[in-house]
């Protein structure tokens, strides 16, 4: 059973989203996603300063099995990417919600956060996907 922390929001493309106190948002991929991918060997992240729309592919995770696009969950400007993933891509498998955060966004429209799934809805979504 994959972990789905209650304090995060999720997308149907398996990104997790954390709203910080300062209004910025941190993004990574869920435990379910890393399990599907298998061993991660490379992560390509967006550069700070890039503007992206909700649903736009903005990062790539390469595993032994496949290359997977990571989609920006909300519109905004990328303000930071996690440099640690360059040397240690395996963090995605080991600590998907912690050390393997991928990038941070300054949201353009905070209302978009309401469109994201909460933990229960995401759990239901992946359960349904399995059948």
């Amino acid at each position: 059973m994959s972990k789905i922390p209650n304090n995060l929001k999720y997308t149907k493309t398996h990104e997790w989203v954390e709203l910080k106190q300062d209004g910025t948002v941190t993004v990574g991929i869920s435990d379910h996603a890393q399990d599907l991918l298998g061993d991660v060997v490379y992560v390509e992240l967006p550069r700070a300063g890039r503007k992206a729309k909700a649903g736009e592919a903005c990062a790539v995770v390469e595993s032994v099995k496949a290359a997977s696009d990571i989609y920006c969950p909300i519109s905004g400007e990328i303000i930071e990417a996690n440099g640690a993933l360059g040397d240690k891509p395996e963090l995605v498998n080991q600590d998907a919600y912690g050390q393997a955060w991928m990038f941070r966004i300054k949201p353009a429209d905070p209302a978009e956060l309401n469109q994201l799934l909460d933990a229960a809805a995401y759990a239901a979504f992946i359960a349904a996907e399995a059948h």
Binding site: G38, Y42, V64, A67
Partner: protein, 362 residues
């Protein structure tokens, strides 16, 4: 639900992720295929390869039959020695690749791929009809491949005294058998080790005995990255019936001598060789980050195009590697189309890794 080997429950106990492989429910990994790969290169890992097909060929004319059936020549073999070969159809295309063990004049054992079982058996039986040979599939046998620098040492500890004695004498590509157990010093990883063939009913006990000696389970994911690093072909990816051994790096397995030995596909291969083989199989190493994958397009400046036949990530090198079919004139570099971008790659002669170390010069 696919077919299950006698070791299926052991895989569940070891927390395997089970996937379909050629109609079998097999372990792709037991947690991390990267770790399992490293385990085999550094220590000892074991694979359940019971889905592969073991066929005993017996009778007065087995040798004559095999001289005709396969492109390599069994006359090269000393007793208990094995060889690797392709089995061709009349146009020279590869039906399958396989290993033949010469055990007795009236008994040769063959191991073929799981995915090609029906096709191979039908072909072998059809060709055997004109020889005094019986073709007996051995679905009663399971197979465990124990591979790695410490593999043989650990395997000895689970064998009885007689077999241990015989196994210890085995040179690479030789086999021994005692009682119900058949051991070959063969493998598909580029490491030393044994492939143990034994009755299915005894397989779980053998597996657990090996676990007890510190051999760790390794899945099909690691098996693929290991064989790719070792430069070993995978039937269905690197060759199929439209490809001859000359086009997929396996000319070395074709025994042209003696010229008087006719084998199925010989005439077509000779014609191709005389006309000049237009394509070859090469190794690729990606200089940058990224993973090479099957079927990606390859372009060779001023020469032409090709395709990746087996692509993946090399855990030992920490880079992406591949086997690719390219024009025969290809030199030392090319480009690969990775998701819409042409990325440079270095062309090398496989293997990429030997004795646990990189052998490609980059």
């Amino acid at each position: 639900m696919g077919h299950r080997t006698p070791l299926y429950n052991e895989h569940l106990v070891a927390a395997a992720k089970i996937v379909d492989f050629a109609g079998w429910d097999m372990p792709i990994h037991y947690g991390s295929q990267l770790e399992e790969h490293h385990q085999v290169r550094r220590d000892a890992g074991m694979f359940d390869v019971s889905h592969m097909v073991i066929v005993d060929l017996q009778g007065a004319e087995v040798r004559a039959f095999l001289r005709y059936l396969i492109a390599n020549n069994v006359d090269k073999l000393k007793p208990q020695q094995a060889l690797y070969t392709c089995m061709l159809q009349e146009q020279g295309g590869v039906i399958d690749d396989l290993i033949v063990y010469f055990m007795r004049e009236d008994w040769f054992r063959v191991v073929v791929n799981a995915a090609t079982r029906a096709k191979d058996l039908a072909w072998i039986k059809k060709q055997a009809a004109s020889f005094k040979v019986t073709v007996t599939e051995r679905p009663d046998l399971a197979m465990i491949a124990v591979q790695g620098p410490k593999a043989r040492e650990r395997a000895y500890e689970v064998l009885d005294a007689t077999l241990r004695e015989q196994a210890a004498q085995l040179k690479p590509f030789y086999a021994a058998y005692s009682g119900d157990i058949f051991i070959g010093r063969t493998g598909y990883t580029g490491e030393d080790g044994f492939e143990i063939l034994l009755p299915g009913k005894d397989a779980a006990a053998m597996w657990r005995a090996l676990l007890g000696k510190g051999v760790k389970p390794a899945g099909l994911g690691a098996r693929d990255t290991l064989r790719l690093e070792a430069g070993m072909n995978l039937y269905g990816s690197d060759m199929d019936e439209t490809i001859t051994p000359l086009e997929c790096g396996l000319e070395w397995t074709v025994a042209w001598e003696p010229a008087t030995r006719d084998f199925i596909g010989r005439a077509a291969l000779e014609r191709q060789k005389n006309a000049g083989v237009k394509r070859k199989l090469v190794g690729l190493v990606l200089n940058d980050k990224g993973v090479l994958r099957n079927h990606l397009e390859v372009r060779v400046s001023g020469i032409g195009e090709g395709e990746i036949t087996s692509g993946g990530y090399s855990p030992t090198l920490g880079k992406a590697i591949a086997l690719a079919r390219v024009p025969a004139a290809t030199g030392t570099s090319c480009e690969v189309d990775i998701r819409g971008k042409w990325v440079p790659a270095t062309v090398v002669k496989p293997p990429f890794v030997r004795n646990g170390r990189a052998v490609v010069v980059l």
